[in-house]
Subunit: 341 residues, 2 copies
């Protein structure tokens, strides 16, 4: 029979091994895969980025993509105690997060067993998540949503990404493709959306829709679009940066467009998201959210005009995201850490 | 020092006490409070109703309501081992399920501390839940949704009730009023809904909306409404039962109305519920669901016409609820049992 003290020593060693294995106080790696480049970061357990790397995305070749992800993991993890790797990417994934069914940006990823393939490049546990979900999780844990229990996040960029956190849990959906807040229909029979439906929130509220509307206005000859036209003529075609410049200059035509986008978002929040999800908090992120109150004010005023029983119900807050471009990285890293703890 | 065997005996007694306290294999009581009567049942841990009682709802007097609920609990629990009581009622409740903010049916319940008041009438733990949520939970645990992980339920009755179960958890929302599937806006600027919004799913798809449309058609003089008019003239005003009779007779005008209701529901499922929630299963219950495939077929065909990427995504099932009137009772009883186990 073993000596009891030796036993105790063994137990302590076991627990410290387990704590090590469970990744407490350890770092994790987040990778965010975009259509032109992929970013990776070493992230601590409070969501702080300790180091970050970016490399181009070789989107036409799945092998090269996997190689590039593997190199990022190796470079970031070298000499570090890392618990797990989280990989965020746009697209439809299987509910078990093993397979990327369809990536909009990476043509080579169709029914790709992405988790297993990345695992061939690292000994660390790998977790996949939709990029908008990962971004929402980062805000929930370390950003604008910290301290809340139920929130949604809208990422207003090229498209309109969504994430739903209900009672502290990220909603993935029965088939893994829930939380697509941008593809709820706001205006039946309205603008054609890339998803095949008409009138989706995304077809009115994305950065792409905003820029398209601004270009149409700039080319229309409408007198109020004089500044937009001037900016457009300087370069041939109005860019997102030029539109942002016009908004920053308080150009009334540009502000009208951003206000319209905000009103549509406020309508979607009041008439679709809140009845179903009743979040405490709506977090607005993504590139377009950089314009701040010029976007948030019309969202809030339209929400307040439409929400039923105003004054007789607890009212949610609508606020700007904390993280701009790093939410996906931070969220993926934290979800990966959680998956092994 | 105690003898080890006596210690073990004590531990066993403790565990058996704990098992007893935790309500395993014990029954629970469900109460479903309606605007005209309240029903109570003793329910076993497999969702079977062992006994059931009904009494009128004295809706104008909160004290009498509480008395009536207390008597139901006493009568059902007499001589039984009961773990807990679950009470289902329509209305907005606080997130902690202590306060009934506003009950649509019970005029006396405004900011009523309902849980505490019922607890004065019983020594059992009491749990409150929204009736549509309780019904959804019953279907999830013991009915059409058994074996699924993520489902939604639509209760098509006087209104359109909703329940969301995501990853095995009933979605309550940040302020306790989530899952209101009937109050998502399907048709902006459309029919006025009782909730204050226009164009809600409920204003097109409730039993009330169906009967209103049938009465309008019967009074319109339209030749195709001959049978509806005949039924109406026999009694002065078309009743729900008469409308059900016309549907059962395959009257084309009545079937057109139910088909339109179904198409609207299918649209809401494809264009609102699925993008956000991605359930494996949609369960259709409530009084109107008694017409069966006459309702389910148009829901399914409209859903399949509208859902994007059809054929390239896993497809949810749309099926009829198992329980008709007892879902609220069974769900409330089971939720109460879970809350103490």
């Amino acid at each position: 029979m073993d000596h009891p003290i030796r036993n105790l020593g063994g137990k302590l060693a076991f627990w410290s091994f387990l704590t090590f294995q469970m990744g407490e106080k350890m770092h994790s790696i987040g990778i965010d895969i975009g259509g032109t480049k992929m970013a990776g970061a070493l992230v601590d357990d409070a969501g702080n980025i300790l180091s970050e790397l970016k490399v181009p995305s070789p989107i036409d070749d799945s092998d090269q993509m996997i190689e590039a992800i593997g190199s990022l993991i190796s470079a970031l993890g070298e000499g570090q105690q890392v618990a797990a790797v989280g990989v965020a990417a746009a697209g439809f994934m299987s509910a078990d997060r093993e397979i990327m069914y369809h990536s909009p940006n990476i043509a080579a990823w169709r029914n790709e067993p992405l988790k297993k393939r990345i695992e061939t490049k690292t000994k660390l546990p790998v977790l996949l998540e939709n990029d908008a979900n990962a971004a929402g999780w980062a805000e929930f844990r370390f950003g604008a949503g910290a301290g809340s229990n139920s929130m949604i996040m809208l990422t207003i960029g090229t498209g309109v990404g969504g994430a739903i956190i209900s009672d502290g849990i990220l909603l993935k959906g029965g088939f893994g493709i829930g939380g697509e807040l941008g593809h709820a229909v706001l205006n039946p029979g309205g603008k054609q959306c890339g998803c095949g439906q008409r009138g989706c929130v995304e077809s009115y509220c994305s950065g792409t829709a905003l820029l398209k509307a601004a270009r149409e206005l700039a080319s229309s000859g409408d007198a109020k679009a004089a500044r937009l036209k001037e900016l457009m003529l300087a370069t041939g075609e109005l860019s997102g940066e030029q539109l942002y410049q016009a908004i920053s200059e308080d150009d009334s035509a540009a502000n009208e467009l951003i206000s319209e986008l905000g009103q549509n978002l406020g309508t979607a929040i009041a008439s679709i998201y809140v009845p179903l999800l009743d979040p405490e908090l709506v977090v607005i992120g993504g590139g377009v959210s950089a314009v701040g109150d010029r976007l948030l004010a019309p969202i809030r005023s339209s929400f307040e005009r439409l929400i039923p029983a105003k004054g007789y119900r607890p009212e949610l807050k609508i606020i700007k995201a904390k993280f701009l471009n790093q939410a996906g990285l931070i969220g993926a890293a934290d979800l990966a850490r959680h998956s092994v703890s």
